[in-house]
């Protein structure tokens, strides 16, 4: 009956130490394509393989618009000119320089999750944040059922027509200071769905987005990174994966 106690003690602590320590366990993130230079102008195969237009050519340089990438690996597998991928997950980007919440909220941030028409993948990753491995409670992040207590509105999905009103209502119901976090390719630009007759082209169309997390879906650590950034637990330092992206949009 109580074998789980013994099992638990034997297993020990599995929780990741991120963000205090670097997280390098393989498999926590699918990674993203790297930016590549030196591609022959006539070879347009690689970029044409990208279904979402995340890759674009600028002379002999292949630029990556990571907010569009859906990790399909078509640019790295099954092609004659595979482009290298880079592991990592610190992709979050703060859109609004004043987005970092006041220091008093740094270790107690309440999150209201709104599924604005997402396919379930992003929600699944958000759900994983509460599991023993990622355990976001240790950093002071809590999911709350009501926007009245929420500091952060976490939106996933391309904002379907029917979710527009609830999303706006939830935003209005939140007390200040409030921040909006767009999670996943759909929430950033409509992703594989939109824009269409029932789906929008991202949260930014109707709400001021403070922080964006690309990925389709973004791995839990990417969301955790975003939360740490907006909570001010991590400094917004451009890393190798995101550094070159500045000023593209």
């Amino acid at each position: 009956m109580s074998r789980w106690v013994i099992k638990g003690i034997r297993t020990g602590i599995v929780t990741t130490r991120y963000p205090e320590k670097k997280e390098e366990t393989p498999g926590t993130s699918p990674g993203l394509p790297e930016q590549v230079t030196g591609i022959a102008p006539e070879n347009r195969e690689t970029e044409s393989r990208c279904p979402t237009g995340a890759l674009s050519r600028e002379k002999n340089r292949l630029n990556l618009r990571q907010e569009r990438c859906i990790h399909c690996f078509r640019c790295s597998r099954g092609t004659e000119n595979p482009i290298p991928w880079k592991n990592g997950f610190e992709w979050a980007e703060i859109r609004n320089p004043e987005a970092v919440v006041p220091a008093s909220l740094r270790h107690s941030l309440h999150i209201r999750v709104v599924d604005a028409g997402d396919c379930g993948a992003c929600l699944n990753e958000i759900k994983l944040l509460n599991n023993p491995y990622y355990n976001m409670h240790r950093l002071g992040f809590f999911i709350t059922p009501t926007p009245r207590q929420a500091d952060i509105l976490l939106v996933a999905g391309p904002v379907a027509e029917h979710m527009k009103t609830p999303l706006l209502k939830a935003y209005e119901a939140m007390p200040a200071p409030k921040r909006v976090m767009a999670v996943g390719a759909c929430a950033l630009n409509g992703g594989v769905f939109g824009p269409g007759f029932v789906t929008g082209s991202g949260v930014a169309d109707i709400l001021p987005v403070d922080i964006e997390i690309p990925g389709c879906p973004p791995p839990p650590l990417a969301i955790l990174h975003g939360l740490c950034l907006i909570a001010g637990q991590l400094k917004n330092e451009p890393n190798a994966a995101t550094g070159t992206r500045k000023g593209e949009k």
Binding site: V114, P166, L167, K169, A170, E172
Partner: protein, 705 residues
Amino acid sequence: MPGIETLLIGTLSLYTAGIAAAFLLPKEKTPVLPALFGGTGSLLLLFTGIKSFLPPETFHAALWTVPGIGTLTVSIDTLSAFFLVVTAIAAIPASVFAATRLKQTRWQHPEVAAALYLGLLISLTIVIIASHVFLFLIAWESMSIIIYLLISSDNNERPGYLMLSIGEAGTLAITAAFLLLSANTGSLSFAIIKTGAASLGPGVQWAVFLLVFFGFSVKGGLIPLNFWMPGAYTAAPAAFIPLIAGATLNMALYGIIRVTGSLLPIPHAGPGIIMLIVGSATALIGILYATIEDDFKTLLAHSSIENAGIIIAALGAGSVFLAKGHLAAASIAFAAALYHLLNHSVFKTLLFMGAGAVEDKTGTRSLDRMGGLLKHMPWTGLFVLIGALSIAAMPPFNGFVSEWLTLQALLRSVELSSPGIKLAFVAAGVGLTLTAGLAVTCFVRAFAMGFLGMSRSDSASAAKETGKPALLSMAGLAVFCLALGILPTYVIPALNKTIRPLTGASATTALVPGFFRPQGKLPEAFVNDFHKLGAQIGKNSMPGRGLAVLHRGGTKNPVVFAMSTFYMFITLIILLGLTAGLVRLFAGRRRKIRQPRWDGGVRKLLPEMTYTATGFAHPVRVIFESILRPKVVERKDTIAEHFRVTIRQKRNEIHLIDRMVLNPLDSAAHRIARTLAKMHNGRINTYAGYALLALIVFLAIASII
């Protein structure tokens, strides 16, 4: 002030004049009669009761001599006086309310209804003052029949019949008990029975107790004989149910106290234990069914069962203490019982008036179909809220004082030595505590689902405030709820006059120390201890006693328990004011944002989406499923056998008592009837055979003897 006799004659002649007027005046004017004659008569009744409480007055009168039965007498002792006061307190507002309702509903014969109502008041008065078995039984029986007629006046025959039939069984038991008593004492007069009863053997005492307890608990709604009560109370017209629930339920308790407390005090603990256990079980079952009930009036009926249970449990505890010689504890328990009886009359009358007003204005009694009534009926809502808080035992209202005293009295079982009795007290205490908890759930639900939120039906959203006379009568009772709640130290000395003859000890000395008056009776050190705590506040301005209810123990443990609802009330007001002031001071400078309520992001919040009374009670239903035993019938509507369109679930809950008592009785009666019916096969030779058989048997017996 005129004497008791004058007041009593005045009361009864006013009631009688009302009945006469009902048949003499034209039909349109009859609805005001209950208010006019019943109200003023009850006012005189109140004076009669109060005057009988005052020391030199005792009332005893012989009416007339009936050949073969003896001289019929009436008398008012302090026990009768207490019940006269309680009845009058419930009857004055109930009469006004009855008049307003008689005016509004279309009665075929308002004069008959008014006359019956006044007749009920007369029979109630006579039940209380009768001191002769014959007079008592006549009054008791006429009370039962009038209640049956009042309940059935709305053409609901089954609940009335059920009440009448089980009530007759009760009356039969009471009659048997009284006959047993008078056969052993040789008289039908209460006074002679009382002096002669002490010498009765234990067998007769037990028989009398069991018969009386059975007989009166039918009217009082104790298990297992309360199956008539929810149906009858629900069927009773709103005009009369406040009086029926507020005053006639008390008569059962009056009968039990009269016989077991005054006429035949039983010197052993057995009956007390039975009352304690039956009382607490009744309370628990009553409140459990009240919590899950949807019909407002049925809910209140179940809650009446609960309160009768609490009173009987306190009485039982008092009897046990008395039998074991713990007079102070017995006085506390009796004080708790009588206090709760008074409180129950006040708030149950109030709540039934509220239910009647709501039913009148919305046309429904279903809590599921109410909601949001506070907007339309603010005053009714306020008074129902006060009644609900009182009945849920929330301080500073009156229910708190008596339930607190009841539980404290049960805790005094530590003084008893027998472990078996202690165990019974513990079981009863647990039951009553659970009851108190469920009562809060029940009345939070009743008020919130009725008066708060959104209106869940068109009739609820179109409701209007009820009329001024009805509101006035509710307001009077609401004031009583608060007054009885914050001034227990003035109520207990009054109750003490009733308790002292029953227990031979004073509840006042056990509970209300004379901090201010009489001076100097308390030990100096004790007084000093309490003066540090502020017990002397108002020493010079207060007219009477201190405002703390306090039970003193020995030297080792100077205070066993203490409470002051008055100071609690004052503190509550100060804290509320302080909070409001602080909020104004600090939050005044802040920016205020007003947003619509969070509704989960729906486009429009519809009443169907909000919580219903059934939904609110669901956790209780789930927890107590083993008691409630619902039969769930699920029906699925499908298209082409595969696509479900709707799933309907219907829960059939048969009341525990119905399941365990009424239905087996019913089926047993049917089985016996079926068996006997086989005799009647319709052939003439069989009947001739029966005649022959009877003749042979008769001859055989005759020849043997």
